[in-house]
Symmetry: C2
Subunit: 589 residues, 2 copies
Amino acid sequence: MPAYHAPLRDFDFVLNELFNVQQTLKTLPGYEDMDSETLASYLEAAATFCENELQPLNRLGDEQGCQFDPTDHSVTTPEGFAAAYRQYCELGFPALDCDPQYGGLGMPKILAFPAMEMLCSSNVAWSMYPGLSHGAYAAIHAHGTAEQKNHYLPKLVDGSYTGTMCLTEPHCGTDLGLLKTKAEPNGDGSFAITGTKIFISAGEHDMADNIVHLVLARLPDAPKDVKGISLFIVPKYHDDGSRNEVFCGSLEHKMGIRANATAVLNFEGARGYLLGEPNKGLSCMFTMMNAARLGCGMQGLGLGEASYQGALAYAKERLQMRALNGAKAPDKAADPIIVHPDVRRMLLSQKAYTEAGRALTTFLALQLDIEEKHPDAEARKTAADLVALLTPVAKAFMTDNGFAGTNMGMQVLGGHGYIREWGMEQLVRDCRIAQIYEGTNGIQALDLLARKVLADQGQKLRQFSSLIQQFCKEAQARAELAEFVGPLTQLMKDVGEVSVKIGMAAMQDKDEVGAAATDYLRLIGHLTYAWLWARMAAVSLDHEDDFHKGKIATARFYFAKLLPETQGLLAQLKNGAKPLMKDADLALL
Amino acid sequence: MPAYHAPLRDFDFVLNELFNVQQTLKTLPGYEDMDSETLASYLEAAATFCENELQPLNRLGDEQGCQFDPTDHSVTTPEGFAAAYRQYCELGFPALDCDPQYGGLGMPKILAFPAMEMLCSSNVAWSMYPGLSHGAYAAIHAHGTAEQKNHYLPKLVDGSYTGTMCLTEPHCGTDLGLLKTKAEPNGDGSFAITGTKIFISAGEHDMADNIVHLVLARLPDAPKDVKGISLFIVPKYHDDGSRNEVFCGSLEHKMGIRANATAVLNFEGARGYLLGEPNKGLSCMFTMMNAARLGCGMQGLGLGEASYQGALAYAKERLQMRALNGAKAPDKAADPIIVHPDVRRMLLSQKAYTEAGRALTTFLALQLDIEEKHPDAEARKTAADLVALLTPVAKAFMTDNGFAGTNMGMQVLGGHGYIREWGMEQLVRDCRIAQIYEGTNGIQALDLLARKVLADQGQKLRQFSSLIQQFCKEAQARAELAEFVGPLTQLMKDVGEVSVKIGMAAMQDKDEVGAAATDYLRLIGHLTYAWLWARMAAVSLDHEDDFHKGKIATARFYFAKLLPETQGLLAQLKNGAKPLMKDADLALL
């Protein structure tokens, strides 16, 4: 398994140099006094825990997986997982960005997100147990009654309870309108929940005292489509310690994240409590889903970082062939493979995607903090709009790049990359699910193009573009930035044109939206990364040290070797839906 | 596991309609009388075996893997593997394209290649046991003494012996110049081979009477680099049935192809016999390597086909959401997901890459048959040059597309794709190795650009281009082909220009070659597929049936949605080596 070193220097760069978060925090009530030393000390504590406790369990977790015992429906997590979770709780990490009213530490997202990245890098399967809990915390915090909040939140905040999201059923994942699980009133205000849920991450385990399942189900006589779905809190154990009628039926055998218990859950008249209003379950669940989607993107980022570190270390050590321009290490039997251009291409691609992803998630964390805390309603709205626009981009673009990145990292190791003991192929397998769950990347693309861009006639997109334009305008004064600002400006123009074109075409034929979505999301992803890399170059230009010079070199690499993908995407988009649709029926017999 | 149906209709199309192989076979001594019925009957027999015997063992093989017993160094293959191998031998398949002088059936490669594709689709891990044997057969056939040939070839041809290729050592894979295994003369004409070889596919098993290891090793006082490597035949058992001193030390734990025994082999003074001339081992081994590289490309193709079939069947069955333009199956709870543009994009991508790959391998098989049998030396040379140029393209482009394709197939299944029981993720894991072994795809790219294109000042490339030009010229007469011929002509022009540019740049700086290689190979891959899709469209235009109309639709999809990738590749190539090399040193600290 490759060693993992938390990228604390880069967190510092992104937080303090790129986004100057102190300045924003000062304007947010509750965060005014959060100095950079406090943030740094938390990040260091998280780094220590991830490097020393979680990462060493990662490969073992993959090998052992979770064990299901059908006699008592129990699940045993891999060795060390429960102990690490206890330690995590003792250190107070579940409380990090939770509400102090319920025992939380009240820290901003710009701290929680880097911590989450480190968890994903060191042990993504483990990270999902507390990750899902945080989703449950957020949903109950947003939609629960005072009683529900007082009852559940302190337990989720101290980690003694964990949470789940129970959406999927055997016949429906994307299309929740089809869901069948029933909720029948018990007469005492509670409901009897009956149905089967599948793919429930952290659905059953031995790490906490109780599990709070958040379950989508239908009330009697509810409308048949998505408008008839309600959300329920279904605890594994009742308050008196007796078992609720919800049981793990089996665990899935998966390609990766094998140490996470992905459960089939059978609700057999389990007692549940309505969360939020009847028939509004889906919008309540989206409180969790949006956070989960960002968390998912973070998995792509964290796994990409771990793979980059493993590949970089190997490329410096492994001796194989001579540099094409003559020996670089003539005293050795061969040169380290990092001298070879194609190996460097893979490493730099990993690095460029990872560091831009880190900048994007930090940008989004800051917007989330503004959305939650800013005294000015307009500022909150602007931040919320940016988060809405960029959440599907973060989820899909970061997981696609994470998958590409972990594969490149594995490729750097050659045959050894394919061998389990090296740990590089596990990162690939663990990353693969992130392109699928929490809404497949195809669904993210539709969300972006249909709901976030076209539904408001491009208003959110223009808002984002104006941020980019503002940067370009300021940057024009500096000739050394022209190499970045030029292509960025051109891409913004191209994106504007193609967005209008798709919008026009969609008025004639809605399939134009579905046909364009995936290419379009990748295009917006590159627009975002080009903007972030240009900004990172801009703040690095005034420094002469290796770190900042390396940033500029990575920015140049990104513009030279990754951004040109947009040329192909634009050409594909120009060709529209026709080659996919009716004409192709005979190709898909 | 998805069901597999051998694509016999498409084999027929490629062999008889696209390439009209009968016409060529008539000119090749030994193949003159090979009619299309004979070819078809062999293909049907292979299809029956693959569908009914091999495919049902595929998932079981992945779950069980191979078992190593350290007490006697033995390896047990998964249940049913040995029995299937016996049946394969009884059916005469190992002999298919082997020399009748040694018991072979003397069939052409244009028959052997489709058979190999079917083996790869149905059970790629199993297919490697006979696959490696064929490599050993080819090397001994090309370089062995009459005695060696008489001794080993009949056993390899009847399948009672299998073969291996022993190249890699712990400290060297790509860079064989570093290899350390020693060969010391025993004084009786034989040699004592001592050293450790790793990653030896089919290195030890329970399927055959004997295993013939072909081993690279150094004679005493041999030059230290690649010019000091010789090739040896090292049988597992001596002729008297006693054990040779070569033992399996362990099996690797791998991401995929888990049913293939990837062995560490310890040679402890094992008796070996020189094959070919001293110190010429590497060029002898390349007889096997080139075939192995095509076989590797075939794995990408076969796995892509299997994944396409699984995804297509699922997409027709799975009901989820309504078509954006209104319900297509209003009588059902939802529409089958094949109505959604993004699902169609994935399916059509799989199909377009797979069918072009099938055309490419058949084209290469035909060139190999010409190279071997044509009475005219110039015709043989032309064919050999085309094979040399396109072998690295077939290996890398087909395995990269196979990996992309198996991932798309898995994505079509959503969460179910990630679950082992569905069998789709196994195809991804099994395919992943094909991008690495037999020379990583980065090494293929260097081989293409440096050795096959630049080393002869583009002569082989021009030869290939003239084939394309010839097609374009003929096709110009037909207006309906303009949509294909236009972009193909433009791409040929672009490829010519960028090749010259890289050649010029490389004279100043050899790193320009390494920096361009991977993008360049993908570009040549697309040039090849664009040519083949245009040809397939051309032969389909005169027909009005669904099969041929589907071909034209797939060609249009390829030109509209996959070929545009070349726009990005050309832009990346234009940016040269600089962003990767010295400038980036500080990015890779």
